[in-house]
Every structure is written in structure tokens, then in C-alpha cells.
Amino acid sequence: MKQRSTFLFSVLAFGLAFLYVPIFSMIFFSFNKSRLATVWGGFSTQWYGKLFSNSQVIDAAVLSIKIALLSATMATILGTMAGLALARFRQFRGRALMSGLVTAPLIMPEVITGISSLLLFIMMAEWLGWPGQRGFTTITIAHITFSMTYVTVIVQSRLAAMDMSIEEAAMDLGSKPWQVLRDVTLPIISPAVLSGWLLAFTISLDDVVITSFTTGPGYTTLPMLIWSKVKLGVTPDINALASVIVTVVAVGVAISAVILARADKRRERDIQMAIAANK
């Protein structure tokens, strides 16, 4: 029963407008000539020029991307292992604690994660003499910790949905455990692992609260830089920076959506053909 309801569609239109009007407004005012960010003073691209020549912004962006690449990769490795452990090992000592540890960071408010990570680093410095200075390493460790559990959740649900007899079939055909993992399990869950990596990368790139607790002098990530500027009010150069980020993300998401949609369509066509051929 697919019927149109004016009410439903007007709420949908309102909701989408609600989601996008602020973003478009922000992009619009990034081309504002005036220094006053919210009053239109004519068209100009000067803020973009200033943005790309601002070494502070570039350095912060490079640091953020470095941290995000490293932490997403580590989080994917550890998170995938945890997902495999929880989905495929029926019993091991401390399984209940582990499944708790995997879900807890998802509901833990960032302030608490941030403070507790900072306290750990302070205590470690006190007792072990490490880390002497907080910065790149401590931020990365904190990011790995809270983003790996997202990877675990994704990988675990993919494994739960996977037909276990496929792994049994590989073993039945003579594969040793590690060969089953290499030839069958990992290739099949690889889309889930990839989306886990992307999610971990995004959360790391976006995080400001946990970073602000675990950072040290000289290590300012892009969100921290934005945070310190935003606290002082709205400025056109932040509008420009925001527009660049939004555009990059939108283009990336759109491209991957098109690729996914194509693959889906091809698959559907294949299935149709297979059914038709059988008749």
C-alpha cells in the first residue's frame, strides 16, 4: 500500500530543509565580502584565498589527517579482532566483560572518556614516567580506544549474518584455520571492515572533546582550531573552511553512493538473468 500523504511529505520536506538550510546559509556567507559574517556585503572569494594561505589551518588539517589515518587503521585491526572473537568464539574466560567493554564506549559521554583518558596518562606519567609529554601519541591512543568499538559492532553484526557453513565448507575442503580466515572469512567481511575503517576515520577527524583532554602543547588538530575560533564568534574564514569540508564530504559520499547503487543494480540484473535462464 503505497499512498501519498500530503502531511507526511510536507514533514519530510520540512525536515530536509531543517537539515540543509543552515549548511547552505553557511556556504552562501562564505562568499561574503563583508567581514561581518552574517550581513551580506557583496560577492568575494577572498576568504578562500586567506584560508589556503593560512599555515595554522593547513598544519592543523595535516595533523588531524595523520592522527585519523593511524588511529582508524589501528582501530580497524583491533576492532575486527574483537568482532571475530565475540562472533566466533562461543566461550572464553572474560567473554562477558569483553562484550561489556565493547559496548560501553558507545554510550560513554565524551567528557568522561576524555577525562578518564587524561587521568590515565597523568597517572602513567606519575608512576611509569611515560608519557612525559602529551600530544600525538596520547591523542591517537584515545582515538583508537573509542573508535575501535564502532568497528567491532559493524564487523560483529556482519559475521553474525554470515552463513557459518561457508567457513565449514572451506575447512571441509582441506583449509587449515588460518587459511579459512585468509581465503574466506576476511574477504567476505571486507566491506564491513572497510566501512568500519571509514567510520573510525570520520570520528577521529571530527573529534574535539576527547582530543582537547588528551592533547599537549603544540598539537592542535583542525577541530580544536575551529573550536577556539568559533568560541570567539562567527567569522567568514570559518565559513569558507566549513564550506570546503562540507563539499569534500558531500562529493565523497555522493561518489560512493553512485558506485554502490551501480553495483547493486548490476547484482540485481545478474540475479534476474539467472532466474530467467533457469526457466
Partner: protein
Amino acid sequence: MSRANDSWFNRRGWRDTIITAPYLWLVLFFLIPFIIVIVMSFAKTATQSPPFAFLPDWPYVRFETYERLFTNSVYIRAGLISIYNAAIATVLCLLIGYPMALSITRANKSMQRLLLMLIILPFWTSFLLRVYAWIGLMGRNSWFNKWLTSAYNVLVPGNWELPAIQMMNTNFAVVLVMVYSYLPFMVLPLYANLEKLDTTLNEAAMDLGSRRWQVFRDVTLPLSIPGIIAGGLLVFIPAMGELIIPSLVGNASDPMIGRVIQQEFGQNRDWPMASAVAVALLLMLVVPLIVYNHFEAKAQAGAKS
């Protein structure tokens, strides 16, 4: 040792590596820090570095922070404001998100894909920048505020007219931006739930004489309760502990609990108090989750029998 189910995942060396590496990581960098917070909440501030101390003798711990937590109105007030804001934001997200999710399920397949992408897209952009976008809109000089002000001035009697609506640094702004930021978290689980519903149920209800709103009330709504709960939790939980939004658009005299934790820890350097408030916040989050799990388990037990 029983070698039951001898698959790759049950052989010794592999098994141990796969379990131990993530386990150790989470224990070291998540569980131990959290235990430190709990222990810290039983200490007292001290003029030393790090700025806390325990009692020198048995029982070593002090309950002073928790006494203050329940007697000082600052903390109780912050807790209530947090619950209030999070609850209002959740309800508003539901009111907007439910019809949105329902109308997406009524579109055709490729349109559904596009609409879902539009809902998710803002989530992939920076959270901070989405808050920032609203700061631009809510300012006294912005086109949005002016537009809203003139609409308001038309509606109210002359002597109530305002030059501009005070939006920034209010609790209203906090709720508005939270609704904006968390709306996708409400729409997505609701969509996933509604999309799976069997449309022949609606046809059956209509066939048996129900009007369209009765079909919604008797069939669609009850079957979508799991989606409503999931979406509600996904909005309520992060909203309760929110720090960025109240810090940027909120009113410093009506702080949410996250902001109190940060202030105690940062400006006041009262680490034990910050820890105690953190423990309290966590308990406030865990309670609704336990209730949810309880109902979920009951529902599943019901489905099995």
C-alpha cells in the same frame, strides 16, 4: 579439552591472539581509566600535583564529594536541566523524525536511497561545523533571526514587539541544535523498522474496515515501537552527556551536566568532584538502558514461545 566444533576460530594460537590483543587494549585504555575515575571520586582536593589526596588511614576514602553532589543545588539543577533538555530534544526528534521515516518508506526504491543519503550526509560532515552553522543563523543580525522576529512581531500585540529574538546563549538554542544534530539518529532506526513492516497488514486492517488513521494507530504504531525505542536511546544518550552544544550556544547560568564536569575538572581543578559527577551521569545513562534491555529480553522470550 573438548575439541568440539574444530573450526579456524577454535584453534589455540589463533584464538588467543585474536582475543588477547583487543582485550588488553580495552582493559588498559578504557577499563583502567574508568576505574581511576571511580576511585578518584572518593578522594579530596589537595594543593599538590596531581591535585587530590586520599585519607592517610583506613578507610582511606571520603564520601564528601557525594554528599556535596546530593546537597549542593548546582549539581542537582544541572542534572535536571540535562534530563529536561535531552527529553525535549528526544520528543521533538521523534515528532519530526517519525513522519519523515514513514514518508521515506512510501517512496520508490531509488528515491528511498537518495533520501536516506540526504539524511546521513550531514552526519559525515563535521559535528562542530553543524553547530557553528546554527550560531550563524541564530545571531541577532542574521537573516534567519530577522525573518523569525518579523514573523513574531506580526503575530503579537504591538507593545510585545522585539527588535530581535534572543536565541543565542539560551536553553532553547541548546535544544534546537541538539534536535538538529541528532535527527538522523532518530530517522535511521525508525526507517529500518518501518521499512520491514509487512504492508499487507495495513491492507488487511483496511479490508476489515479501518480508516487510514486507525490503521496507523492499530497497526503501524504498535509495530514500530522497537524503532521508536532504538531511535529514542540514540538521541537521548548522547544528548544527556552533550558538552559541545551547551558550551557554544548555551547559557552559562543553566549548565548541562557535561559542562559542569568540565568546569570542575578544568577551572576549579576539583578532580574528585568532576569524577563524582561523571559517575552520577553514567548511572543516569545506564538506568534507561537496563530498562530497555529488560523489555527487549522479555519481548524476545515472548517471540520464542
